[in-house]
């Protein structure tokens, strides 16, 4: 599903050159729930941006869903993201002028699917927000906003979900709810990639890829085996 081969990303800032990723290679299959773990500056967000077609590697190749996107043109990348990726951000990034329903409807309209309102309603129902569909983002709690964001990503119908610190702005209980939602998507043929610095979250993953200073330091099942979400605590 996702194949990265010798990905290196270097930022040249005048005399200084910063290597965000160094010869990273990995493969992620369909329906995997993967956590990319690492401290701040480890390159995990850069890795996410590579997979999401938001950034271009200095060297190496990126293939997602049998699509080579390494040196794809601007238009092709737009098309790729629209058809393949669903983003979930730490700060939710909902559109403040649109209600919860309309934020999700946005994703459906983007795909040109008819009956956008009903489709959006369905996804909000899936994330348990039916009573709040006509509320604006500022009227929703952090957890509710993130659930809208997840519904929006799901509404694209795209096979890959990329979540960058999805629980970063949330309290523990709310974070757990969000993780449950994300984890459940891997059971319905979606590939879910969660980027986090929170080691506790990595315990529920099928696979944990740990990055440090732009390199993969470990890649495999979580230490101590996969835990249940109910066992998590931070």
């Amino acid at each position: 599903m996702i194949k990265l081969k010798d990905i290196t990303k270097r930022y040249d800032m005048g005399a200084v050159s910063v290597t965000a990723l160094s010869s990273v290679s990995l493969e992620i299959g369909k329906s995997e729930f993967v956590v990319v773990l690492g401290p701040s500056g480890s390159g995990k967000t850069t890795l996410l941006n590579m997979i999401g077609g938001l950034d271009t590697p200095t060297s190496g190749s990126v293939m997602v869903n049998a699509r080579e996107i390494t040196n794809a043109g601007r238009i092709d990348k737009f098309t790729f993201r629209r058809e393949t990726i669903g983003f979930i951000f730490q700060s939710f990034n909902l559109f403040p002028s649109l209600t919860a329903l309309e934020n999700v409807q946005f994703a459906v309209d983007m795909k040109g699917i008819s009956g956008a309102v009903e489709v959006a309603r369905g996804f909000l129902d899936d994330v348990g927000l039916s009573p709040r569909i006509d509320h604006f983002p500022h009227e929703l709690s952090g957890g509710e906003q993130q659930r809208v964001a997840i519904a929006r990503a799901l509404a694209t119908g795209n096979p890959v979900l990329l979540a960058d610190e999805p629980t970063g702005e949330l309290d523990f209980q709310t974070g757990i709810q969000i993780l449950k939602l994300l984890e459940s998507q891997s059971h319905v043929d979606k590939t879910v990639l969660v980027v986090t610095h929170n080691r506790e979250i990595s315990r529920i993953a099928d696979r944990v890829i740990e990055l440090s200073s732009g390199e993969i330091v470990s890649d495999g099942a979580p230490n101590g085996g996969r835990a249940e979400i109910a066992d998590l605590h931070w």
């Binding site: 999401g52 983003f87 909902l94 002028s97 946005f106 994703a107 309209d109 604006f136």
Partner: protein, 827 residues
Amino acid sequence: MKKILFWLRWAWRDLRVRWPQVAAIAFIIALSTGIFAGLGGQETWRIASMDLSYETLVLHDIKVNLTTGSFLPEEKALAVLDGIDGLALVEPRLVMDTMLDASTDDETILVSGRLIGVDVSQGGPWIERIHLDEGQHLRSGTTQEVILETKFARYYDLEPGIDVRLMGGFELSAVGIGVSPEYFMVTPPEQIGFDILGESSMAILYMPLPAVQAIFQQEGYLNEILVQVDKGADADLVKSQVAEVLRATFPETGFFLSAGEDDPGLVMMYEDAVEDQQMLNLIALFFLIGASLASFNLAGRLVESQRRQIGIGMALGIPRWKLAVRPMLVGAQIAFLGLVFGLPLGFGFTRYFGILMDEMAPLPYYAGTLLHPPSFLIAAGLGIVLPVLSTLIPVLRAVRSEPLDAIHGHLAAKDSGLNRWLKGIRLPGNTFTQMPIKNLLRSPRRTLLTIAGIMVAIALLFMFTALLDTFLGTLDQVENAIQYRSPNRMLIALDHFYPQDHAQLDDLRSLENSQGDQLMAETESWMRLGSRLHAGDEAIEILLDVFPADSMIWVPNLLSGELVQSNQHAGDQEKPGIILSGRAVSDFDLEVGDSLILEHPYREGLYSFRSEQTEVVVVGIHDNPARGVSYMAMEEAGFMGLSGLTNTIVALPAEGVSQAEIKEALFFQPGILKVEATAEFLDFMDDVLVIFTQALRVMQVVGILIALLIAYNSTVINIDDRQREIATMLAFGVRLRRVILVEIGENVILGVLGTAVGAVLGWWVLERMMLTRMETMLEEIQFVVTVRPFSVFAAVTLGIGFVALTPLISARKLRRIDVPSTLRVLE
């Protein structure tokens, strides 16, 4: 010192990022303050210049005008005035109307002329002195030297040294070009309603008095006396004494006295200066309002974009007053740039207006320059206060908020604005079509300020466009009224009244060209009289045309009433009927059938007239908007003692004969005062319109510029404010052009609302304010408020089209958004 440099360095970096927006706001302010500064001093300058010109060239205090055709022996007239106390100076003049041929190799110039015989002995004239612009002064004893009036010479590009001819074949040489106070504004009587437009159709020529007397065989005679009163003397007393003495000495001669300060041209010029200033102040005020709205909206939003940093500073414990320095520096930058742009713009507007005034109403002397320091100081003050206030208010708001609210303010909107009204309401279309309106409703204050700014700019654009259309529409109406039925007719004014069957007139009518063809297909005997209408306390000057009711050439086109009283008005047939303009009727508050008093000449002898008043009844209203144009059927005019007489021949050229041919042929005929083709008047109007058009176009361009700058700045700041939203859309794969379309959609709404309300506001201001002022300034004209469809189309296209498309200017900026960086959460 280091700390100050630190803040300045930081402010400089802010400016480097924001310089287009800062410059745009500064330019908007500069445009409006520049207009205010540039035009604020025109009244002071014009009045000071007129005072200087009139004083230097010695405007007469009193003028004795003899009735048309009357003359007095010069020596005797001056002698009887000699004994009156309080007279400083008395000068004789002989003023005769004639025709002038000033044709050059390039152009045929045959116009009405007025020959002013002045006393040049002893180095005069000392009253109504002639300011020489080019060439040389008149010399005593010369018989063929004239000075041409400046505006006439300028209009036709004539220079000293050219030869001119008077009717009757008198060859003269124009030795100089100059003007006297009486003719700072040339007001030919037959152009009532368009007094300011006389320069091309009437040539004023100055000549030594004996030479004029010789030309018109009036040696030793005068028909005007100019009087200068001693300083400190009672001018009214002197005036009444002059009148008394002349009446006693010359009882059979009609005359009237006028004061120099009542000269129509002078009065108009001084009134114009005051009223023009009022109108310019109104225009400047509108521009300032537009600039204020723009400044408060846009500068305020620039400051708000620093709110997060202010919040961080507050969280770090930095004093609020220190945090206020940086955003206030934005205001200072705008103020500084506003001054930098505004000063040259102000000078530019000053210069432009000076050139305009010199073209329209030139004066021999100017008091300094149009630069009016108080106006510039006020404009500079406004240019500083506006941006400072615009930044101060949001700064105060920012430093008074809680630090966390300010820090996190960028992550989520505080509220949804007016979108809460749409809760539960499904708008048509998808989210992309709904986004523009929802984005606007989210920030209602901001949206309203932007619309208001565009609205004021469009109101100005629409107002000036409609003003121009109104001028054009009114001129069209004049043209239609004049050219109705016989567009190529000619008016031949005779030097006095003749019996209609006079042999001289028969010769005139049967004039032939060199091939023996008759020049005129049709001729009719009319009369043209200067008169006055009285209704209650009101009185207006009119030009009364007496026409044959069964005229084959031309009769006035009536809006209501009839040409001649019918039997229906049997009871009123004792009163003669008169046809008036709509403006005269409305000014006097009359209707068809109402009566008023006509003050008119009454013929007593062959060449003598007295003034008489007769009650007349309004029988019709004609379509010419010029107030003073009036008509009376020949059948009704017997009460004036002029039955069977004529002083004007109306003629139609024969087929294949041009008006110029007839003019040239008539030029050498005796008894002709002047020859006019109706089309010439309209050609001249077109020339004058060019000046008005240029001035109005400048204002239109400024209005458009302000609207565009407001829209551009608003768009750019919108994009900055919504970077995260735009980056989110791009991350989801929404194409850039769709993002731009959303922005365009917002601007379309802003443009539509701004243009719609602006057009209505512009119309309202035009009707209520501008036209009221125009009708006061040009009280002889009935303005017809007109807006041409093309003008509406242009205003709408510019107002909506340009505003809507400004997001395209930011396409490059949008393309360059670094999506990952923009979406990254800043801890």
